[in-house]
Amino acid sequence: MKREIPILLVGITGFAMLIQYFIPTGWSEFIFTYSQDWVIVIGILAMPLGIWSLVKANVSKLKVPGERFYSAVLLAGFLIMVLTCLKRENLEMGSLHMDMFTYVLVPIQATIFSLLAFFIASAAYRAFRARSVLATILLLTAFIVMLRFLPLGPISTLNLKAVSWILSVPNMAVNRAIMMGIGLGATATAIKIILGIERTYMGHD
């Protein structure tokens, strides 16, 4: 009852969505659109679970001396964003809410993203050592592709040809093969879930 019925529901909804794909009628389209709305609605209404988890963890950390300040900052940031947006109009540019978005959220996000410039270099330094055949292939290909930016005269012309061949032959073939594998693997996992063979994600007691 606590586990079997949910597993059965997974199977029924999953099978229904599978069948729906092959039926082009208006009803079938309605079911598809509506089911996507279901997922969205469940996701929205589950949001309090996330907020609760976050708030609970940080309120309890308010008692820990070293953590107190940081948890207070987090809770304050959250509260400010909520309190500055009590009307829908606050989502338009010019409100304090959107200024927080522009001057706090956007720059931090962009900066974290830009850390990749450093990390791509350090990862290359560490990983691109010719310590095995595989590592050597990885290293050489990346090397050739990166070389396209260096002004090397006639070598550049040759290099560009090599890069374009790498992209249009081995790289494309690999992407296709990996995608086909993923297609089969994802399908197998989905079918296992629908048939109830894979049910570890669903609790029981």
Binding site: A121, S122, A124, Y125, R148, F149, L152, T157, V163, S168
Partner: protein
């Protein structure tokens, strides 16, 4: 520990510092990096350069803001060259998000060169279904675009006097983030046979070199690198050159680190093997 052994275990912060400097230095002291002009870029420059003042060039700008950084510089370089030569320019966009972008670029550059809309250049606008729009323009520009982007009828604009379709333009340059290039190849060049060149993002460019050898394209400008080459030819060092400086230096730094890493690895390998350790 020898120097090379230390190099193997280099503190990653030195790498971070090198990358940081590679980006910061060109920001403070901008400089030009040496750019080798590739033949496929030079051909486009020469093509435009050999045109006479008053002749017509058709420029199609088919990208959206997401590939602006890479493609704006080449669009600007080409338009600069064309305005400088007093060519007449026709602009069109087949990208949904293109119109605002084209408006911005063209009106800004026209002002720089004292060019008048409707006399020296015209922006036709945007229509969906690229294939059909291209074919319709092959019949008459007025079929898909009875009025231009600003709502002025084509026939009321002096630039359109005696201009009907692709037969009346010298060539077409298509600047694109990808998919629309195929339409220009198949329905444009394929059907009407006008000279066609493309400017395209670096990643996508690889797929189009085959059309150079087949003669369907007379030139390609690939990504930031191509843009920098074009800027060098035109003599307007702009955003392409600036970006190229960052990229060349950063790529060089990473490549040097990789070489260093391998030198250190091979130099210390023997010692490590004797000591029975691995990496």
């Amino acid at each position: 520990m020898t120097f090379l052994e230390k190099l193997m275990q280099i503190d990653r912060r030195w790498i971070y510092l090198a990358i940081g400097l590679a980006v910061i230095i060109p920001t403070i002291w901008p400089f030009d990096v040496p750019v080798t002009v590739s033949p496929e870029v030079r051909k486009i420059y020469d093509f435009v350069d050999e045109m006479e003042a008053g002749e017509y060039l058709f420029v199609c700008i088919d990208y959206d803001p997401s590939s602006m950084a890479e493609l704006n510089p080449m669009a600007i370089a080409i338009i600069n060259q064309a305005f400088q030569k007093d060519l007449k320019l026709l602009f069109v966009t087949l990208s949904q998000f293109g119109p605002g972008l084209v408006e911005q670029i063209t009106s800004g550059l026209a002002e720089d060169h004292n060019k008048v809309r409707g006399e020296d250049y015209i922006f036709l606008g945007y229509r969906p279904y690229p294939a059909i729009v291209i074919m319709a323009m092959g019949v008459d520009f007025r079929v898909p675009f009875p009025v231009d982007y600003y709502g002025t009828p084509l026939d009321e604009q002096p630039i359109m006097d005696g201009i009907k379709n692709f037969d009346d333009v010298k060539g077409v340059i298509e600047i694109t983030s990808g998919s629309t290039a195929d339409f220009w190849l198949i329905y444009g060049n394929g059907r009407y046979g006008f000279p066609l060149a493309i400017g395209i993002t670096g990643v996508m460019s690889a797929n189009f070199y085959q059309y150079l050898s087949s003669g369907q394209l007379f030139g390609i400008i690939p990504g930031v690198k191509g843009a920098a080459e074009y800027e060098k030819l035109v003599g307007y060092p702009g955003e392409g050159m600036a970006q190229m400086a960052y990229q060349v230096i950063a790529h060089t730094v990473i490549i040097l680190f990789i070489i260093m890493s391998n030198v250190a690895y091979f130099a210390t390998r023997k010692k490590r093997q004797q000591m029975g350790g691995g990496t």
